[in-house]
């Protein structure tokens, strides 16, 4: 923006622009706050479920089958008479744990590979990008279904598949960031004083790209949680009685047809809270770290 533009903008709308900026700042921090608080709540519930739940989540028959929500069973019981609230609480361990672990693995591996590809350039870069393109033409959920169906159910398998599905996105993101920054002057300066390439890439360039990667990590966590639930809903992924939320929704599917809505309904709300928190945090982080969006 030229000096002239700046002056003109000041002259036309000084009173309008400032409160808008302040409000935007405020909103960003608010959505970040809400996201963090909700996520902390989920973590707290997941930890609490290790030591206390109202009933044993895995035992059927603590109530009759399909008890409607009442004071004894706040969220009702499912077809087998297991307490819904207890199962939901324990489910937080699965859905939250899977999403966080998978995203941690995907972001580390993907960012590392992307940094190498972006900094190295040339053949390495081309091969990485083409490979990624092929994987991205493959629908994510389908890929996860195929692999999990093939290698079998299990917590570790689900986590590994989900992290694998996430890697291409991080690779592309980190690659684009590093590729753009490697010819900047501070990179040149870092090279000039004798830093080896890996050091320039990982110590000097990568930390400057943490913002966008972090923002994407949050969005990616929401996506991972949704795929976890989808796999659970299909009965792939985890053993049948696991109180994973998607699994629970599937168990309540018959009840929905006969009026016992609560079995499928509440796990959906639990997913909404978790993925919603991730999205809010991701949005806020993107706003804070992207100077173009910050103005």
């Amino acid at each position: 923006m030229s000096r002239h533009d700046l002056l003109a903008a000041d002259a036309v709308a000084p009173a309008e622009a400032k409160p808008a900026k302040a409000r935007r700042r405020l909103r960003t921090t608010w959505s970040l706050r809400i996201g963090v608080v909700v996520l902390a709540l989920y973590i707290a519930v997941a930890l609490l479920s290790l030591v206390w739940t109202p009933y044993d989540p895995l035992t059927p028959g603590v109530g009759d089958g399909y008890d409607a929500p009442s004071w004894a069973f706040l969220l009702g019981t499912d077809r087998l008479g297991s307490d819904m609230l207890s199962r939901l609480m324990m489910g937080a361990r699965y859905d939250l744990g899977i999403a966080l672990t998978a995203v941690a693995i995907a972001s580390i591996v993907g960012t590392t590979l992307g940094t190498i590809a972006g900094y190295h350039g040339g053949v390495v870069d081309t091969v990485a990008l083409r490979t990624v393109e092929i994987f991205q033409a493959f629908p994510g959920l389908l890929f996860a279904m195929l692999v999990v169906q093939a290698v079998g159910a299990g917590l570790l398998n689900v986590i590994l598949v989900l992290s694998f599905v996430g890697i291409p996105d991080y690779l592309r993101l980190a690659r684009a960031e590093i590729h753009a920054k490697k010819s900047w002057q501070y990179a040149e300066a870092a090279r000039m004083v004798g830093n080896p390439p890996w050091r320039v890439a990982f110590r000097h360039l990568l930390p400057n790209s943490v913002g966008p990667v972090l923002a994407f990590t949050s969005i990616n966590a929401a996506f991972a949680a949704l795929i976890t639930a989808s796999l659970g809903f299909l009965g792939l992924g985890l053993p049948p009685n696991t109180p994973e939320w998607g699994n629970m929704i599937a168990r309540g599917q018959d009840g929905v047809m006969t009026g016992q809505w609560w079995v499928s309904f509440f796990p959906g709300l639990a997913i909404l809270g978790l993925t919603g928190a991730f999205y809010l945090m991701g949005d806020a982080l993107a706003d804070l770290t992207d100077p173009r969006r910050r103005r």
Partner: protein, 339 residues
């Protein structure tokens, strides 16, 4: 050849390496992980000789590289192989199921666009005020909720509780005969057959899955529209347009929206790719006989050829969707017409 034609041709040719890579990946992944699906298709009391016979019939008797070469040479003749489950050629299976997915997808996507874009515009116009907060809450939940859950809740409300819409039994109520197939789109075929009552039944069956699809695609469309609109509305040319005394509607829809459309179109391309690749879970909830269900069944039954066929179709669709996006760019943004 014009530069535009060359660009289209290059993008279309790009389908081949992508499809090749995806097929190779699927081929080996399915076989290496899943082992031998003969068990699924042999009767339990089958003798070893019968098993060997079945294995040969499924084309699984040869060593892997030979199977792969066979598959590729067939592929060059546009032969996608034979489905283990249906016993028909995969190409004709896909072709039979395509209209169901396309019909649901087109109606759902149309709903998503016609609802999502105005919501985004309204949210941008009222940004940081209560209509914005309300709409952003709704769109956030549209993104954060699993599609299958939205579908189930709609079934619970509108079928089980209120009885306004029919149950999730597919494209037509059970026992109702399909109209003669012309296009495969039931909403069109019923009209060609001259049966308005049947058309109405079809529409009612379509309503709940289409609304589910519409809601979950409207959400990201609205969010991206809002973000792009906010950016456009802060620009100098909009300030000028306002200063020149243009009415709100012209400023919002003709100037701001048009300039905000690029990211929206990109997103819609991605969403369309997703939708037409078959909303797997949605189709399974509504017993919709489309491609998503076919893929799910292929995975469950280790139906290799069917799975590979579907994956080729899906990757083709992605490439085409993004080609369409690039072409649309040129319609929207005149600067892109001169490369």
């Amino acid at each position: 050849m014009t530069p535009l034609g060359r660009m289209i041709l290059r993008r279309l040719l790009w389908v081949f390496p992508v499809a090749f890579g995806v097929v190779t990946l699927t081929f080996f992944m399915a076989r290496v992980f899943n082992g031998d699906p003969t068990e699924l298709y042999a009767p339990p009391e089958a003798t070893d000789a019968l098993r060997a016979q079945i294995r040969a019939r499924l084309g699984l008797a040869d060593p892997l590289p030979v199977q792969y070469l066979h598959y590729l040479t067939d592929l060059l003749r546009f032969d996608l192989g034979t489905s283990f489950t249906t016993g028909q050629s995969v190409a004709s299976d896909l072709w039979d199921r395509l209209p169901a997915t396309l019909e649901l997808g087109l109606v759902g996507l149309t709903l998503g666009i016609t609802v999502g874009i105005p919501i985004g515009v309204i949210a941008a116009v009222y940004r940081e005020r209560w209509p914005d907060f309300l709409l952003r809450g709704v769109t956030l939940s549209g993104m954060a909720l699993p599609q299958f859950w939205i579908g189930l809740v709609l079934i619970w409300i509108f079928f089980v509780s209120l009885g306004w819409f029919p149950g999730p039994v597919g494209r037509l109520p059970i026992g109702v005969a399909l109209p003669p197939k012309v296009t495969g789109f039931l909403l069109i075929d019923t009209l060609i057959a001259g049966k308005p009552a049947l058309w109405w039944l079809t529409l009612r069956q379509l309503a709940l899955p289409a609304i589910t699809l519409g809601f979950s695609s409207a959400a990201p469309i609205a969010r991206v529209t809002r973000a792009a609109m906010v950016e456009a509305m802060q620009s100098d040319y909009i300030r000028t347009a306002v200063a020149m005394g243009h009415g709100n509607r012209i400023v919002w829809f003709r100037y701001s929206l048009r300039n905000a459309l690029l990211p929206v179109v990109t997103l819609i391309g991605g969403v369309a790719g997703h939708i037409f690749a078959g909303a797997v879970l949605l189709e399974s909830i509504f017993a919709w006989p489309g491609l998503g269900q076919y893929a799910l069944q292929a995975i469950e039954r280790s139906d290799f050829a069917a799975l590979q066929g579907f994956v080729i179709y899906a990757s083709l669709l992605y490439v085409l969707a993004f080609l369409a996006v690039d072409l649309l760019y040129m319609v929207i943004d005149p600067r892109m017409r001169t490369p």
